[in-house]
Subunit: 331 residues, 3 copies
């Protein structure tokens, strides 16, 4: 889709210096930008590179507005954010048209909203509700009694267990499994066998949640596992039963969250983080990659970075590492 | 399904104090229990909460039998175990009825036992044997030459490679991959290329094994990978070629077991544990979350907890962590 | 397929001592070898075991050629390599025959080479090109605009996102997801919400790449994620957007590679390794299992082994561990 730079600037609430009628057809990296592409620069070096590139125009910050430029500049408070919004303006979601592939199996008891697309070989079991404008990819298996909101994107080969509820604009990447049984057993002391503790709770995802490929989120044992609005989860993440993940949380790849964990709003976790059962991570905490929080611990401090296993505030942990290195070299 | 408390008590081998004719339709958490629900209490605090809840009756231990109670009590030696059994009594597995969905592809050379359900778009390739009372979910791909026991639950989108053998009552959650090639190569010193070492062994799972969503277990290279009866495996776990996992082992999420590992009976592993090649973990060892055991090591000590990488007995490791913290603060 | 030992020796460029007309039908472990099996021995002990086994013949090294042997020996410079090649000679890939299962959905705009097999319920979306001799397993979902090379093996339930490009002889195990969106967001400082940074780049895999079950590799954000020829990746591995993995790299299970990482040729990584954003691992480095490399670091040293988080050269790290253990015991 082609837009003038002016149209883009209006959409992202920025202003143009230079020719605002230049036509833009896409966004690109500085290295890959072609003659109809918009690129962005966050500092002087990248601005210099951007101006030397083949790109049509550059999103830059207020400080760049004085720069002598051969290209039109789109000045924005947050260039990266404005650039991201420009990208979605230029490449809007392709709206589904209500196409149900003839090989899809949709139970007659289920209800599809307007303009729901269902891909080849997808299966919607009984008593599901799929909201308007949602796309279900090929090979997905959903239900029974699952509720999916509006304008969701469910990529291929996703499985959603019974009774799961999704908000609007949820994105599930390929291979995601939602609502599987939690990992809970009770050992019979006489036989030594592990018997299944009931895993009959539910799973609810808020609006605007995105979950990466092959991640798994379990249903509650007796209650409900929940993921708050706007939370973003990377690939191969595991979230256990009964856990409550807040809003606008960011969880990088391969992180594992055990059962009955509370993660408050705005927490950020690097990759391969592990949280034990009944951990509570308070609002705004940052957990570095591979951090491990033992069971029942509370991690506090908005904006405080933790690292290591067991998790320690970064500054103290780095000091410990330095101490160990020094002592080790002495001998 | 409704049952009287007395019927439940008989099933779980407990005894009722109070009205044993009260009707129970389900189990619940104390917080969520409704007027026909059974809840359980393991200590005084939870008993007080349970008695103050809306639940119909409470499973409690012998010590609680003296408690003055407005609700009928189901007294059991192990309340959590009795509660779990009550749950399965009230919510029994729904037996399959022998329904093969018309979109399923079942090879004519394969043999299905009585009352096998096959979901939409599932694929059973040639020379498979599926035992009586087993359910195969939508989108599963099984075979050829796979043997699945009786009363198994195979959730959607599971893939089982050729020649894998499953016991009875095995539960495979969505996205599980069984019997894939092990990760074994031989480097040609002249070309620097990695050539495939043969991965032509098999995989066998005992009875009552449960494997969580998106976990993967590889076939043996030349021999057989094995998982013993009653072993429970969480989501996103990896088990490598030739490994032998014992009986009643518990393996939490995202743990990785390399090739040719021996895990003896009754071992418990937390999440994100890693075992190197040719490790042996002896009977009853407990490995804390994120523990790493280097290749070729033997870990011994029934009931001994290990933690850290490389794995150390917990007590010593905690002492090391304390020592490091102390030394680091000195400077 | 039966071959004489002589035919095998010619194929693997070794020589036979003893009866070169013995018929061999397969390869096996020493313990499992039957009367028509070839086994291999890398040292004296295993040679003794091999000669005492039921196997028909033994692949052994030059040093073994003087050994008095009741069985014919196939002498090779690298017995394990010769054995692996013998295995592929005896169990060659079964070539596809151009069979498209009637339940597969292949878009008419897509182009299939000669002898492409497409399994039941597989889906090939529009504008894909599948190379000659490639097999696509049941339940796979591919495309649109995906290019798959010749003689590839795509196991069941694999998902390949749009515009991904695969070389020849690529092996993708079940549940692999290629080309999903990278994990990139920009936070709006006013609303606190994470908005999607464009994930519109591509993913390219070279020839002879093998990827294990349920692993995920993301497309680039604006550029291209790349995996070089001959690189082998185990199960449940994550590779993030924009990362460039070199040739003949080996990556064991559950390793996570963040965004914009460069891994040069011949690097070897153990399981559960984690690399932060913008890390560079130089040619020939070896990263032990569970090693963590923080963002922006460069790891150098061909053949040097690193371990720990943050990654340190093995020798120094072991010294640190010993120092800590010693100091901890003092008190």
């Amino acid at each position: 889709m082609k837009r003038t730079l002016r149209q883009i600037a209006e959409f992202v609430k920025g202003r143009v210096i230079g020719d605002d009628q230049v036509e833009i057809s896409g966004v690109a990296s500085v290295a890959g930008g072609g003659s109809q592409d918009l690129v962005f620069a966050e500092n002087e070096t990248s601005l210099t590179n951007a101006l030397g590139s083949s790109a049509a125009a550059v999103v830059a910050n207020e400080a760049s507005s004085e720069t002598k430029s051969s290209k039109p500049l789109l000045i924005a408070e947050h260039p990266r954010l404005a650039f991201s919004r420009a990208a979605s303006f230029l490449n809007p979601r392709i709206n589904p048209t209500g196409t149900i592939h003839p090989t899809a199996v949709v139970h007659s008891d289920s209800t599809l909203g307007k303009n729901v697309d269902i891909g080849p070989h997808a299966v919607i079991l009984e008593h599901c509700v799929i909201g308007e404008g949602t796309k279900i990819g090929a090979g997905c298996v959903i239900g029974p009694h699952v509720s999916v909101g509006q304008d969701c994107d469910v990529y291929p080969n996703v499985t959603i267990y019974p009774q799961t509820k999704l908000g609007d604009r949820v994105i599930l990447h390929a291979g995601v499994v939602l609502g599987g049984d939690g990992f809970g057993y009770v050992r019979d002391p006489h036989t030594g066998k592990h018997e299944k503790f009931p895993q009959i709770g539910r799973l609810e995802l808020g609006d605007d949640v995105e979950i990466g490929a092959n991640s798994t989120v379990d249903r509650g044992a007796l209650e409900t596992t929940g993921i708050g609005c706007g939370t973003k989860i990377d690939n191969l993440v595991h979230i256990g039963h009964n856990s409550q993940i807040g809003e606008n949380v960011v969880i990088a790849a391969q992180t594992g969250i055990s059962g009955s964990v509370i993660v408050e709003d705005d927490v950020v976790m690097g990759g391969q983080v592990g949280l034990g059962d009944h951990v509570r991570v308070q609002r705004g905490v940052i957990l570095g990659a591979q951090t491990g929080v033992p069971s029942n611990k509370i991690v506090r401090g908005k904006g405080v970075i933790f690292w290591g296993t067991p998790a320690r505030p970064l500054r103290g942990y780095l000091k410990e590492l330095a101490t160990l290195a020094r002592l080790s070299k002495k001998k």
